[in-house]
Symmetry: C2
Subunit: 609 residues, 2 copies
């Protein structure tokens, strides 16, 4: 293979110079998945940081549809990169620690072989003769580049949107070549809606008379009207409705002044006209068609079965992230992937990050405090380096004993008798799923004790970040909606610690707990404790409220109230076996052996079905 700096390559007809880019001309031709062969393939790429002696710190970053190899600036004087907030010294993908590689994709127009490259057989640009390529073809070129760089195993592959398709493909096909994968704001296949938008965009290019069947390079008139229409349309789908309202509503009828042959009557119209006109200056219509088609053809598995075939054998750790307002790659698509991984017992973390930025969220600074820190923790866990909590304290000492489960904890001492008891009740080495794991105190304790397979379910974003910083796998989910992804008896133990009283759908949560776990361990406050009885029968007021936490009957997070007997009734109603109930008096810091339904303020039950 032949390496060169980009300036010496003439395969790129569009780019401003990428000063730090290198170009690799491959020795072997590339046989394409959908037929055809590219005899000459070159890839343009940039690297950041240093490859360590073990060659174990390399992170591959995959760009999205209109991105390029310039993921970040190489120095303060350099042009901005498209992901400076995530890649750089001290950034989440820390170039002081990691060796970052970002190639321009096959089919792209910023240096790597694409429709605007010269076809060695004709001496002219390929144009529409450029063959149909797939995400698999793109990844094959990346794989050859990685091998050329002497990297046997990547630390991670990270990519959003179309780049997420590449990340998924890496994990599906080459999971032995990476320790971890982080597909962001992506999907196993486009929704039909997203596909439809792409089709309309391609039709606008295809039917632009200047398209000339794809051979417009010599006419001097590229199909920039069609490309601009496609770009305008794409741009709408990258933003959220809320975001557009904030940006354009106030001055809806006051367009910015832009010189354009497009309609500029409205504020948003002038913006789109500008975006559309500018896009033709930096992008090639055939490349746009080629890459959007590769995205549309991407199909890792629309059905759960096919998706499982594609990824359930993977041998790496996973981090998936979606964004609540992303309607182009809606969160449920990431959740489908997560569910498939869970069903296959793969190590996965996931968060659907609250955002108003739409699909573009992963490129913007608004939510980087969450997604960036998740990536940072994920990479640290992959490389086995220590993590400090953001304030510099050790997370273990900061959180270990504090109230990190549900906000309804009735414990105020640093010593958590209920945790101690739960840990005692868990057999050594058992696999454990913690429902409502908070920042992961219990799981971290188990991990320290040597449990290898532990996992948490949690709703709060910040808690998930902290759980990941502790080295844990944590998946965001709403317990009320069930644990459908998990298979029967997937875990030895499922823990529901101080959470039962906060869920509406108790039956579902308990059913699911005992489907997924061979045994369940449930801790809950006992409403029939003598203090509560006294409160109702003598004072005539609602019992079971944790006044010490500032709660009253009208603002407690608890929505279910039960005694030890009530729990037994539930188990009887539902055919659940109670193996053991430990009744605790956490005020006296002891177990309650006699009259537990009177003397215990907390009960912990070991159950199975």
């Amino acid at each position: 293979m032949t390496e060169s700096s980009l300036q010496s390559s003439d395969s790129d007809r569009h780019a401003r110079p990428l000063k730090f880019a290198r170009n690799l001309l491959m020795d072997e031709p590339l046989d394409l998945e959908r037929g055809g062969r590219l005899t000459q393939v070159s890839v343009t790429y940039e690297t950041y940081g240093q490859l360590n002696a073990e060659r174990s710190n390399a992170v591959l970053v995959c760009h999205a549809l209109s991105g390029d190899s310039h993921v970040a600036k190489h120095s303060d004087e350099d042009d901005p990169g498209w992901w400076d907030i995530a890649v750089g010294p001290g950034a989440p993908i820390d170039t002081d620690r990691y060796f970052v590689i970002c190639p321009n994709v096959l089919g792209g127009c910023r240096g790597s072989t694409g429709p605007n490259s010269f076809n060695p057989e004709t001496g002219k640009p390929y144009g529409a003769d450029f063959p149909v390529i797939t995400i698999g073809d793109i990844v094959e070129v990346q794989r050859r580049l990685i091998s050329h760089l002497g990297i046997e195993k990547l630390l991670a592959v990270v990519g959003g949107s179309l780049g997420g398709h590449m990340a998924l493909t890496w994990a599906s096909r080459h999971s032995n070549r990476l320790r971890g994968v982080a597909p962001i704001a992506t999907s196993a296949a486009l929704t039909s809606q997203a596909l439809a938008f792409d089709i309309v965009g391609r039709n606008a290019i295809l039917r632009d008379p200047d398209y000339q069947g794809g051979q417009y390079y010599e006419s001097g008139r590229p199909p920039n009207v069609g490309l601009a229409i496609a770009r305008m349309l794409g741009h709408i789908t990258y933003l959220s409705r809320e975001g557009m309202t904030e940006k354009f509503d106030a001055e809806r009828f006051q367009p910015r002044e832009v010189l354009s042959a497009f309609e500029t009557k409205f504020s948003v119209g002038s913006y789109l006209a500008h975006q559309g006109d500018r896009f033709g200056e930096r992008f090639d219509a055939n490349c746009y068609m080629t890459l959007s088609m590769a995205m549309d053809l991407f199909d890792l598995g629309i059905t759960p079965e096919k998706l499982a075939e594609a990824i359930s054998h993977s041998d790496c750790r996973w981090l998936l992230m979606s964004f609540t307002s992303d309607w182009l790659f809606p969160p449920f698509q990431s959740q489908q992937i997560v569910d498939t991984l869970i069903a296959a017992d793969k190590p996965v973390s996931y968060c659907n990050i609250e955002s108003r930025c739409g699909h573009d969220a992963f490129l913007l600074p608004d939510n980087v405090a969450i997604y960036g820190e998740m990536i940072r923790a994920f990479l640290a866990n992959l490389s086995g380096t220590e993590q400090a909590s953001p304030n510099g304290n050790s997370i273990e000492t900061a959180d270990m004993e504090s109230s990190t489960h549900s906000p309804t904890s009735i414990f105020h001492s640093r010593h958590r008798l209920d945790y101690d008891t739960i840990v005692e009740l868990i057999p050594p080495g058992a696999s454990v799923l913690d429902l409502g794991c908070g920042t992961g105190s219990l799981l971290a304790r188990l991990a320290t004790r040597g449990h290898e397979q532990v996992m948490g379910i949690e709703w709060d974003e910040q808690s998930i970040v902290r759980g990941m910083q502790r080295g844990l796998d944590v998946v965001q989910a709403d317990l009320n909606k069930g644990l459908a992804a998990f298979s029967e008896n997937q875990f030895d133990i499922v823990v529901l610690s101080q959470t039962l009283q906060t869920v509406m759908d108790v039956e579902r949560v308990v059913d699911e707990m005992l489907r997924v776990g061979s045994r369940g361990i449930v801790s809950f406050p006992n409403l029939a404790h003598r203090d509560h009885r006294f409160r109702l029968s003598t004072e005539g007021r609602a019992p079971g409220i944790d006044a010490a936490e500032g709660y009253t009957w009208y603002n407690t997070p608890n929505v279910r109230f039960l005694s030890l007997y009530d729990f037994e009734d539930l188990c009887r109603d539902k055919g659940i076996t109670i193996h053991e109930i430990v009744a605790l008096d956490t005020t006296a810091n002891c177990r309650v052996e006699e009259y537990p339904n009177f003397g215990a303020n907390v009960a912990i039950a070991v159950v199975s079905k």
Copy 2:
């Protein structure tokens, strides 16, 4: 003015013959809101049913962007109309009862004056010389038509989408000319996102070389590529993502066979290509541009203040409906209008109908059982005709005494002592808002007693339909999210009957109740009733559960548990004055005068702040 059957009109260059349409050539020129004048204006319209002697049963139906005057078939042999499910003999807009008028809009291409009509000054079609028109101009032509038909006051104006803009404009400008208005799936102005889609569509037409600056009529080559692109794009926005998934996902890579120069690689692509190609056969590009611009310019008020200026003086009854999966005219936009009307104390009903059909939902049969019946009830209420419940029973006898409030009712007898008591506590003639009104039993009772201003808030769709069938105004809202739209002391009495114990955010609901009502009347089950005390202190089980209704601690809809004392504590905490507490023993069917917190199973409090 000159009436003619449509066949004799030569102003329409595109339509298949509309056999039953008539054409009215107006005497007066039309001065347009944005400047310019149309010297000759004709309107094509169809009518259904008979105008009654009092001329009081006329319903104007306004069509959407690509609709026309043919809202329904006139006989079984006639061509289908675009809203046969809603208009016809026995249909929700029952042509056996009502005289239905549907005109083609100004600017349209199915008979009424539009860009494809001949410009009397040039003898050629207007083309792009057709002036910019507004929804106001369209409505002015409709108003002239209505006057020509001798109708002083319409029973109602009904319209969805762009037709909803017309309905809103009628209510804003001519509310003395109608008794009621039903804007469906519409908004006071487009979202910036929806506006952006329109702009992209118009740009596709505008930059189609065949557009020729709008004078393409003589070329024989209309800009059908641009029009098709616009139509494809529009079509995506009319469907929901879920709907597209159901329709296209399974056979995503198996296109239907269609002959098209557009891309037909994917199933959804072949569908869009077909839709796009066909649209040019029945629609005119200049008309599309004109009407979509009229829609984009529509601005009844983006800010709450401006919206209030536009509609708060209206003198008619309102029904608004939106659809949960409509993302082009998202539900919050209808809610903004509803909120404005509520703030202005206008009679309004509203429902956000659960649907998977997107914006098109109002044209489709899937949800007509809800939206159709709401329209039917609305029209019946406007015309003062009696309504029967769907099964033919009188609704009053069917529901009056049954458990129609929350599902947590603790009452099983047909005699509702709590209702009797609440009615007694309400001063004669007081205005009343019922939070969680169910099917409206209490309000109907008050209406019968002569209360003129009563209104309900309810969540359940079917209950809202039944409330409307009782002649009530009912607005769908989630009590947990507050009553922000209502102003201070808007009602004499706000009732919260057997609902407090089911809401999470008690403080907010109570605060809002006492902001909106001069007084509140709250009924709730008393947790400290002797039976409940016994249950906890002697049996050691959770109290307050209505076992007779089949509930247990783990499935009760109640999430808050309170005694009479607890309620008093809340009032003390929040500075709420309790004017009266009536304690009831509904088992013994009597009031409890001594030890009410021990003897009452239900308490009813009259409070204010």
